[in-house]
């Protein structure tokens, strides 16, 4: 061994395990390498955001108003980045999930009612995603009585029987399938000059339908559950404050990707369905309307995208809900535990899937009112959570030197104010 004392480095030729880290190498490739080791939370969260509800809203926006809502995606992307960045930062700095921070800062009562509201609105989202599975599989000629129970079981099995690593990999693969929307968007050969000018010129129509849909697009992109999911995933990744820049890149990247997908869905429906004047009400209508206008492959791609998005969101939403609630109440919560070790966690997770799937299978249940009230709760919940987040991110006891500066506060205050006005008007319009 090293007996001469000259400080010759002892060799560590361990050929198993990870490849040796080269500390001296710096620059672009290193950054890229670290990014790929740490990325995931932001990209997964953003993609789940384009769930069945999102795709429906974008399809409606495109087919009813053509390209005129396209520009809203620019401010939405910016708002998404601002809000998600706060969550990622809180996760990295505090090492705690959002519901953990809310519980410790705002006490048991506020947390309890917040969690009930979150459960209800997420249940609504879960239902809409099983509806998405049913709709897309019907396009492929599969009855919903087959597709919904099977997908519910698949989603349940994936988490209960799988390990977290396999789950996360499955999720990352699901993200790739969103490309199918981009492919179908390019397949219809749109007029890019028109699109560019529509994208960059904000136009507003002051009609109730236009405004409702504009609010809908915002509401479906920025949802309460995302903040909880993103922050918990960042915490789970074990990112350190030094790695914060990578978490931020992840968030920015994810927010842009999600809006690129939204962009192509709106574009696709605008240049086909809107121009031909067909009326649609659901994402399934949109997919079917595409066949005569753009070919049956386009329909299939659209339906496949919807299936993927619905399944993806149907697995993440119940998971995220169970995780968030258990964290707030201090119950055992981990996909790496067995059922008996974490009964509340798996109980909540299973209830959401079973209820979500059952509502679709019983034709007598009032699906539309259920979805409607879930959207209302969503609209009430979002402002509360955003305000809590602002208070937390400005709390120096939690955030230290990473709390918001005045510039960041100005941006996040105005973003949140706009979002609160929008979701407030959404809730208000319901009661008109």
């Amino acid at each position: 061994m090293v007996s001469n004392g000259s400080g010759a480095p002892p060799a560590f030729p361990r050929n198993s395990g990870e490849p040796e880290k080269e500390i001296s190498r710096k620059g672009f490739w290193k950054t890229l390498g670290v990014f790929f080791a740490l990325f995931g939370p932001g990209i997964i969260t953003s993609n789940v955001d384009n769930d069945a509800g999102g795709i429906t809203t974008y399809s409606l926006a495109g087919s009813e108003f053509g390209l005129s809502l396209l520009w809203t995606l620019i401010p939405i992307t910016l708002a998404l980045i601002v809000i998600q960045e706060m969550c990622a930062r809180m996760g990295v700095v505090s090492g705690k999930g959002l519901s953990d921070l809310i519980r410790e800062r705002f006490g048991a009562r506020a947390t309890f009612y917040l969690m009930i509201a979150l459960f209800l609105t997420n249940l609504g989202n879960a239902i809409s995603n099983f509806a998405g599975v049913a709709a897309s599989m019907e396009i492929f000629g599969v009855s919903k009585y087959v597709s919904v129970p099977l997908s519910a079981f698949f989603v349940w099995w994936l988490v209960v029987k799988g390990s977290y690593k396999s789950v996360e990999k499955a999720f990352l693969v699901a993200c790739l399938f969103y490309i199918s929307y981009i492919v179908s968007g390019v397949m219809v050969k749109p007029d890019w000059a028109d699109i560019t000018s529509a994208f960059l010129t904000p136009t507003i129509e002051f009609t109730p339908q236009y405004l409702t849909l504009a609010v809908g697009v915002v509401g479906t992109t920025i949802a309460p559950w995302m903040q909880f999911y993103l922050q918990s995933s960042v915490v789970d990744k074990g990112l350190k404050p030094e790695d914060y820049q990578y978490a931020r890149m992840d968030v920015v990247f994810g927010s842009i990707i999600v809006n690129i997908v939204a962009f192509f869905i709106i574009l696709l429906c605008a240049v086909t369905i809107h121009q031909s004047g067909v009326q649609i009400e659901t994402a399934k209508d949109a997919a079917l309307a595409l066949a005569p206008l753009a070919g049956k492959y386009c329909t299939w791609l659209f339906a496949f995208g919807l299936l993927n998005a619905s399944l993806f969101a149907a697995s993440i939403l119940p998971l995220s809900t169970a995780y968030t609630i258990c964290e707030a109440f201090g119950w055992e919560s981990s996909v790496n535990r067995k059922f008996a070790e974490a009964p509340q966690f798996y109980g909540l997770y299973s209830i959401m899937i079973i209820l979500g799937a059952a509502v679709i299978l019983f034709p007598d249940l009032p699906l539309i009112p259920i979805m409607f009230y879930s959207q209302v709760i969503n609209g009430v919940l979002l402002p509360v959570i955003l305000i809590f987040m602002l208070i937390l991110v400005n709390d120096r006891k939690i955030m230290g030197k990473f709390s918001n500066g005045w510039a960041l506060n100005l941006i996040s205050f105005s973003t949140i104010a706009v979002l609160i006005i929008l979701s407030g008007s959404m809730v208000f319009s319901v009661f008109l």
Partner: protein, 420 residues
Amino acid sequence: MAVIPNSQVFLFLSQILGKGILDVGGQVRGKVLDVVVAVADLYPPVTAILYRPRDAKTPARLPWNKITDIAGRVVSSSLSSPDAPSGNLGEGELLLKESLLDKQIVDTHGAKILRVNDLHLLKVNHNLFLIHVDVGFRGLMRRVGLEKASDKFFQWFFDYHLADHFIPWRFVQPLSSPALLRLKIAQNRLSLLHPADLADIIEELDIHKRTEVFQSLDVETAAEALEETDPKIQVRLIENLNPAKASDIIEEMSPSEAADLLGDLPKEKAEGILKEMEKEIAEDVKELLEHPEEKAGGLMTTAFATLPPQATAREALEFLRHEAENLDLVYYLYVVDSEEHILGVISLRDLLLASPQTALGDMMDPRVVAVKLEDEKEEIADRFAKYGLKAIPVLDEENHVKGVIPFKSLLEVVAPQLGK
């Protein structure tokens, strides 16, 4: 502790917080903000109450002996001169709301991380003690203000009596601040946990608390817990320590675990730690580091016993008694010649049964089942299964004993593949 049965004897923190403070004349003078206790091993007594006086912004401290009644309402005999500015807690004092309520604690009896829903206090004579931490659903409902409603609901709907879920204070380790972890009550209560349970708890905590908890442990407990921890988390924990402290902990680990851990660390950090370690242990660990983790050489430990064939059974037993503390394996004694070539093996049972004068050379079993440095774990597992051994020696090309693989080390490598 003599408990006089009385409906007002037990109190919850949630029943005290936010309550008005009355003077003897019955005038409301302020609102209760928090409760101060002096940390004690068994039942921490309440020493003061923090309250916000009317028309004042800063909280004030009201010593316990000035409070004449706390059940039902809080009455104080003198409010005129708050004794001390509130922010300064005395030595060994603890704010119940600030550092316990809604925070995470470790239940050292059940080996779990839980969240505190409420705190259970007991009033005996003129003193109020903290006795239980409430982690149950009923406590949560009490905080929400729905305790009665949920009791009735469960009774009516499920015919189920919703019971309290209390943890006695002596099993509670608060986690909310590093100061609380350092607070040596009698000793850090986490060291009462089984190392494997402690490792599970460390893995479950967030990255900051994980480090705080780990650094609060004494060297021996830390080493035992570290051996049971996930390798990735091991690396994080050690990276946050200075080399001197890290080497103290790693010296306490078994050489093979230590080598696995050092092999996973960045090179510079590992070298720094090795320099700080005792020379003898460092040499052992460095030797183990040269072998790949999944092969015999990487699984083996160097802390085992060898003796020459001339030694007697009595001498062997003496030797074991003396060295057992430093050995990873005491069940087998390997008989070697002066150049460390293997000659035979003796089990502890043989040694106990043999007459004290017998030379080891005469009683040893020369049919030694061994593996080579480069053997893969599957081959090693086969040997263990076939011969029913508790440990297998590892030989190099010239039959020198280089180390021994205890069954436990193999099990850790093989267990994840079982049942899949």
